[in-house]
């Protein structure tokens, strides 16, 4: 019997409602919830809205939810929830909006802050229909619509929303990896990354079958000595997803997620970029600071334990993923054991993020990959806004410096020429005196004309006289 819970709690300690008609399991606290319940969709802090992973298909989810909502005993239903026709369950109030899609893409919850940014709710708009309700009245029921942002008139109050994908094939924005909008309506106007590949380290129970399936799907697999062997029947290995878009990557991650993982396992995410010079911007100190800040926020928002593996890695406690602090002198010639390994460019043309551990909950891993892509997207959209200033240089050589060089060259030329003059002077001195009766005449400039001849003739007459 599929189980469906709707819980309301002012903290993460969930005072779950016992719904005997839909199963007896009650989640005691947040930890249990985060341990392996793939498909959970929730709004944190104030409201929890989740589907148990035992609900296999979208139809079952819808049926279960519709039935749950129709059950009179569910007094915990928040005001505004209702079933719509055969498929939709909608809640819309001033805090947020939840909707169900006809092809099993939900359930999805959004905060008002998120909704305000969205014009269209899904990336692939051709294959689903959304019915939205505001104040219990159907406003729109047609494809490609509605502009959800218009339905929502008020700002977020106390709800912090986090959207996790379901175990069905989900849709995310091809640019930023977020659900709830598509590339046409994404705030990031341009997709900066090219392809994504993920190294999944862990232990698989039926390893041979997993490897066979993975290789048939184009993934690669290899033994990994860095992964602890563990005490169970599961065997340690590493599976590398086939490089692809964000959606393709996440699908592979979900499909081949390891059955067991511990702190020896890392989830290394390789991302290639359309522009090689994006690596330049990412290898800067402003990006390192932004990277750290975003992951701190993400970890806190997901209630990850401060002393857990994720935050330990972020703090630099793991020597295999030390924090990046300085800009490398040369990207391809650096140590790879950093949170951001730029030397991967040499082999794969990628930046490798080695920060993420192999979360037990694959929903967290999916969220983390989306977060990483969003970090790259947001920073590269306007690196200047985060303090990255590209070098600039103005050169001005003083005129005095130029003048000094001219003088230096003037000195060289006369020295060479003086020697020539000296040699000529010596030659003149060595000439024997004119023969008796002869006259030696100096001709200035070597010019010999009639005036000169006349002068010579006068001198000759005077000498004879």
């Amino acid at each position: 019997m599929p189980r469906y819970f709707w819980c309301h709690s002012s903290s993460l300690r969930i005072g779950a409602f016992n719904l005997p008609a839909f199963g007896s399991r009650i989640y005691q606290d947040a930890t249990e919830l985060f341990e392996g319940n793939w498909g959970t969709t929730y709004v944190n802090d104030k409201i929890l809205f989740m589907a148990d992973s035992s609900i296999g298909s979208a139809d079952e989810q819808r049926t279960a939810l519709a039935a749950a909502l129709a059950l009179g005993g569910l007094t915990a239903l928040p005001p505004g929830f209702s079933t719509i026709g055969k498929y939709a369950v909608i809640r819309h109030n001033t805090n947020g909006l939840a909707y169900y899609t006809s092809d099993g893409c939900g359930p999805v919850l959004y905060s008002m802050a998120e909704l305000a940014d969205y014009v269209e709710p899904m990336r692939d708009t051709e294959n689903y229909t959304i019915t939205c309700v505001a104040d219990n009245a159907i406003q729109l029921d047609q494809r490609y619509m509605p502009p959800i942002g218009e339905l929502v008139g008020s700002a977020a109050t106390a709800i912090t929303a986090k959207t996790f994908p379901s175990d069905q094939s989900f849709r995310t924005c091809g640019h930023c990896g977020r659900t709830g909008h598509d590339t046409r309506t994404c705030a990031h106007t341009e997709q900066v990354y090219d392809k994504i590949g993920v190294e999944l380290e862990g232990r698989w129970i039926d390893l041979n079958a997993v490897i066979r399936r993975a290789r048939a799907d184009g993934l690669t697999a290899a033994a990994d000595g860095s992964v602890n062997a563990g005490n169970s029947d599961a065997r340690a290995y590493e599976i590398q997803t086939k490089p692809g878009s964000l959606g393709q990557t996440l699908s592979q991650v979900v499909k081949y997620y390891p059955d067991e993982a511990d702190k020896s396992c890392g989830m290394h995410v390789h991302v290639s970029f359309k522009q090689a010079t994006d690596f330049t911007c990412l290898s800067s100190e402003p990006f390192f600071a932004y990277f750290k800040e975003r992951w701190e926020t993400w970890g806190a928002a997901n209630n990850l334990a401060p002393l857990g593996e994720f935050f330990a890695r972020l703090r630099g406690a793991n020597t295999f993923c030390r924090p990046n602090t300085e800009t490398p002198a040369r990207l391809t010639n650096t140590d790879r054991y950093f949170q951001l390994n730029f030397s991967a460019y040499g082999e794969h043309k990628t930046v490798e993020c080695r920060l993420l551990p192999m979360f037990v909950n694959q929903a967290l891993s999916v969220s983390a990959i989306q977060e990483l892509i969003d970090i790259y997207q947001v920073f590269l959209a306007s690196p200047e806004a985060y303090g990255l200033t590209l070098p600039e240089q103005g050169i001005d050589i003083p005129a005095a410096e130029m003048q000094a060089q001219i003088i230096e060259q003037e000195l060289e030329v006369p020295v060479a020429y003086t020697l020539v003059l000296d040699r000529r002077e010596l030659e003149l001195e060595d000439i024997l005196p004119p023969a008796p009766g002869m006259l030696r005449v100096a001709i200035p400039g070597g010019r010999f004309d009639m005036a000169m001849l006349r002068k010579i003739a006068e001198l000759q007459k005077a000498r004879v006289a």
Partner: protein
Amino acid sequence: MVNLKVKREGGKLYLYVNAKELHDMLDAVGATHTNDVYNDRPATVFAVVDAGRNQISTDSLLKREYPYKADLSRVYTEPPSIQNIRRLCESAHEQTRKVLEHYQPIDISIEIQKKVVKG
């Protein structure tokens, strides 16, 4: 005299060079040029940037385009780090000096002295 900037446009890194003042000085000393570039340039094998040494080419300083814009994405075979870009900009000083030395005007004065030997 020369201004260099590296800008990011459309995801690409561009080098902007404005050497108008340098060119005015070269014109004053009689350096000749075509519409695009100066003649008799210093010998170099790099059209824009020596990516290995992170040095701007002297040819880039002699393009008569204000500003002259070069796509660094096409120059580097592997992405340059910020340090590389910084060194590239800093190299402009030395390269500008090379250009000035190359086109340095030399004033040669020749004085001919001739002695007349009295007979």
